[in-house]
Amino acid sequence: MRTIFTFITILMLFGCESEGELTREKIGAMVVSSEATLLFSGTFEPEGGNKVTGTAHIYKEGDSYKLSLKDFSISSGPDLKVYLSKTNRPESFVNLGSLGSGSSQSYTVPEGVSFATYPYVLIHCQQFNHLFASAALKSN
């Protein structure tokens, strides 16, 4: 009985995770077509004492738009998200979801988003409401 009790206790104290079909692909692993048209670019600047390198690019691919991060690296954070924002602060934005882990990442921009209205790319920690980096998009 003591063995069973100990076994269950150990099971409860330690978390575990394994990938499934919906989580196997890395976040941001989508590839932008070489035929896509580059519309906007910007260089990331650090915020709040964090470190960041890399650039942000907006491509038009068919009828959709893609945000691509290149040569990208950033200080680690607990719950970093990618925003398109009206300003360089996370006040009015479009949340593109969780930030991936590679140096090259791409995200689909939801339909109807105007880059004249949302000319900034932000990397923001949603969980603790802390801005990590911003990039102002400029027309190419």
Partner: protein, 300 residues
Amino acid sequence: MKIKFLIVLSLFFVFNLARAQGCSDAGICSIGSSFNGNDEKKNNSIEFATILGKGDADVNYVSAYIGYTRFFNEKWSANAKVTSSYANGSFGGRGSVGDVFLTANYVPVATGSYKWSFTSGLKIPFNQSNLKINDHPLPMDYQSSLGTFDFLGSVNLNYKNWDFNYAVQLPVININANSYFSEYSGTADFVTTNLFERKPDVLLRGTYTINTTNRKFSFKPNLLFIYHLGQDTYEDIYGQRKSIAGSEGLTVNGNLIAGYHFASGNSIEASIATPFVVREVRPDGLTRAWTAGVSYKVRF
């Protein structure tokens, strides 16, 4: 007695097969009857349990808990319970410790056949309901905790073989940091629960206890009514808070517990549960179509 039990058991399985849905709530459901026989010479008990369940879409669950109860005297007792959950489905498998429940129970001096007791306590989450797999945010169905500090309170009445519990589960502090967006997930099986906020629940449970003549076996069919008091909300991709239509309303669960009591005072219980009525949308992930569990209680 035997015939009565067989009728109850048959009815339960008829309902179970006809409406294979299930028991839902991880927190409020666990407020138990406070009149379980306390051996006067043994003031402590430890209970551990494992529960299997089937949820929405293709999610399966293995849950566990460990609880400790201390009877200080005839009137006062306290309980601490730690829960954990492992969910497995198309997103993969994710398990973690969930919440700790701390409750105190007061039993006034009984007058006549009616015995009252009062329970109050807290649910404290071990995480912010934002467990991930390979950095992918997961729906609430895969989270081991709702990510809220809750107040729990219940009034319990025992009359002969009947037990009734009326309870509330009130989220007091929300630390839910879930970041799941349905539109970025690759499936429409689960609704968006980014920065999820949930509303309170109220519960009413009626239990009828059948003991065999030697009191070794007990059977406790019970009905559990849970009303979710309002629509839960989330923050959409534009940062706007949205209500989730259909997330309020009634859940009715049927549950059958069969127990065996050892001469030592220890006991083992098996339970199966399924809902007969469910809310239109259950974004909190409390979507068990059925559960089946075994628990063992050691008294000392």
